[in-house]
Symmetry: C2
Subunit: 374 residues, 2 copies
């Protein structure tokens, strides 16, 4: 088992090298990001001290990093060339230049556009002035999009922890409690139930009119009778996240709000039932959207149906209308249709789904009815 884990990084690096060779690039450069963790197991904060790892077919990976974090590279199960720099920023460019110019010349390298910052990009350009640098997100998503058994196990645990945490939070959901206090209580329960403290994301707790904002941030607003309450939360286990949403009613709500809750529940079910290998990501979006449009609320479902999850809270595959990407076993993503009535309230129901050989498996089992609390 321990051997397996040790070989995991070497195997992933080998897959990366094959993908680099296939792409026509000479190498890829990664800064602290989920892909760096996936490939090396190395965690770094994204800070003012730049860290870059270079992967090429011709030599072991090269990493440029602060001297004071060098111990992180001791006892790794794979070879790596460490170039450490001191606390003097004036010296950093020289270290990058030495590190990146010792193998065969690099004409084309790929980077992760969602992670590489201008800071690292600039050191890279200075170290390799003749090299063309291009977005290569497909190489990384290609490696990471289909989860292996161990990754699936972690994600199942992350869903179980999230479900346990929301159950422990239910008694706190009542009129008079603020969104911020509820978000804090839910976070506490996530940690108590075993989530890593670097959560997937801060919980969304959005009540009343705020629930009509899909990306609301918790406010001082207090829950009150007649509110819809959208809670969007997740845990992290072994680096892997869960991402669930349920909507609650605080006392009895307006009949139209209860009706949209039923429609969203049907849309969520349609999405989960459509999920299967060899269909397109877009087909799931069509399935959920069709239910909501048929019920007359199409214009109030303002976002895509879902997104991939894994080491990141948003990754490939994106479940949106025009995405022709074909789903394959091991892909994991959210199904999260919603209806948002501006100024009144919104409903979203989100589950985490795994494509299997035969169809799909939903990690979450929580009730999807509009549960009345308070």
């Amino acid at each position: 088992m321990s051997d397996n884990i040790q070989n995991t990084y070497k195997n992933r690096q080998n897959h990366l090298i094959k993908a680099i060779q296939k792409s026509g690039l000479d190498g890829v450069v990664v800064n602290p990001s989920p892909s760096l963790i996936y490939l090396t197991g190395l965690h770094f904060h994204l800070m003012e001290r730049p860290v870059l790892a270079l992967f090429t077919p011709s030599m072991p990976p090269v990493i440029v990093m602060p001297e004071l974090e060098k111990r992180k590279t001791e006892g790794l199960s794979y070879p790596i060339q460490v170039f450490a720099y001191t606390e003097d920023p004036q010296s950093w460019a020289g270290v990058f230049t030495s590190a990146f110019n010792q193998g065969s010349p690099l004409a084309h390298i790929g980077i992760e556009p969602l992670h590489l910052r201008y800071l690292e990009y600039n050191f890279l350009k200075t170290a390799l002035p003749q090299t063309s640098i291009a977005a290569a997100e497909d190489i990384f998503s290609g490696l990471r999009i289909c989860k292996d058994e161990q990754e699936v196990m972690a994600m199942r645990s992350a869903v179980a922890v999230a479900e346990k945490a929301i159950r422990a939070t239910l008694p706190s959901i009542k009129p008079g409690v603020s969104e911020i206090d509820l978000a804090s209580e839910l976070t506490i329960q996530l940690l108590r139930c075993g989530s890593q403290s670097e959560l997937a994301f801060e919980p969304i707790v959005a009540s009343g009119p705020n629930s009509a904002n899909p990306h609301a941030t918790p406010t001082q607003r207090k829950l009150s009778h007649g509110d819809l309450l959208v809670i969007d939360w997740g845990a992290r286990i072994d680096g892997y996240i869960s991402d669930l949403t349920r909507t609650f009613a605080i006392g009895s709500v307006d009949p139209e709000l209860a009706r949209i809750a039923k429609i969203v529940k049907e849309a969520n079910a349609a999405g989960r039932e459509t999920a299967s290998p060899d269909i397109s990501a877009g087909a799931i979006d069509h399935a959920t959207r069709n239910v909501i449009a048929t019920a007359g609320y199409g214009e109030f479902f303002t976002h895509r149906t879902g997104h991939g999850i894994g080491l990141e809270a948003h990754e490939e595959p994106y479940i949106r209308g025009n995405n022709s990407l074909i789903l394959k076993p091991g892909m994991t993503f959210t199904v999260e249709p919603g209806i948002y009535l501006p100024g009144r309230g919104g409903v979203r129901i989100e589950d985490n789904v795994l494509i299997t050989l035969e169809g799909a498996d939903c990690y979450s089992t929580l009730d999807r009815d509009l549960v009345v609390l308070g």
Copy 2:
């Protein structure tokens, strides 16, 4: 009071415009970052949907953002031009191009190298192919480096919350508890004591030999008699952070470990006492380093003495040897000398300091002796 807060953003934008004009740039572009929050009060997740705000002297700020977050820009106290895009990524480049080409032509714009990603950089290059883009971190740090009264108040609260949280965690510090469990308990106490749930950073809880790693991540290692235990933690209030470190002994420790704890305490005091307006940031680093070097442990103090704090956990001013930046009232930073004996253990003592008109004010009052627990 509410008027003051409303005017805050407009005033900060005016200061930014003056700084832009002084710099010779035509504008600056900001993606979701503490500077965007500082200038606009707008919070966005850093995700696959790019968000960029353009500030120029010739017109109100322009923001490009997802349609589904548009409600965040309602009811703002200052004018802003919102360009929203749909869920179809194919359409995004066109929206950026329209948004950034409506005022006077932009020959030179500045960006934040620690925050702007290749993703946004690429949209910017596509929208403004003739424009030169340059790192302009000095403009932003110039705006933010001296804190006003309201910011100082938030930071004082963030220190008070952090101190309350560590006191509540002390009973859990005993042999047999793992670093991870202790980090989780401390995080829970931070939230219970009133920290925002987006913490400053994940607590460092490093015991025994792990404490010799200044940037350790909590592990499954269990505390044991004879350990040094370094805890580095902080809270966040109104967006502003605190960042403290204390070192504890689990039972009685090796006399040399107790000795380095005394030396670090002296170094910390020397740093805090040196802090005053009109001296250089480097002078504080010299003061702490001198104590440690004189005691014979110079080579084991492997990092700079500190860093600025505010909306970010690491920002200007950096307290390092060759930094000639002159300290001014309102600047806030950490003083955090340490001694790390590889394989044996380390000590760090970190406080948060504000430069005042007369000298300096330390926000934290926690005991700096090596407290023996367990």
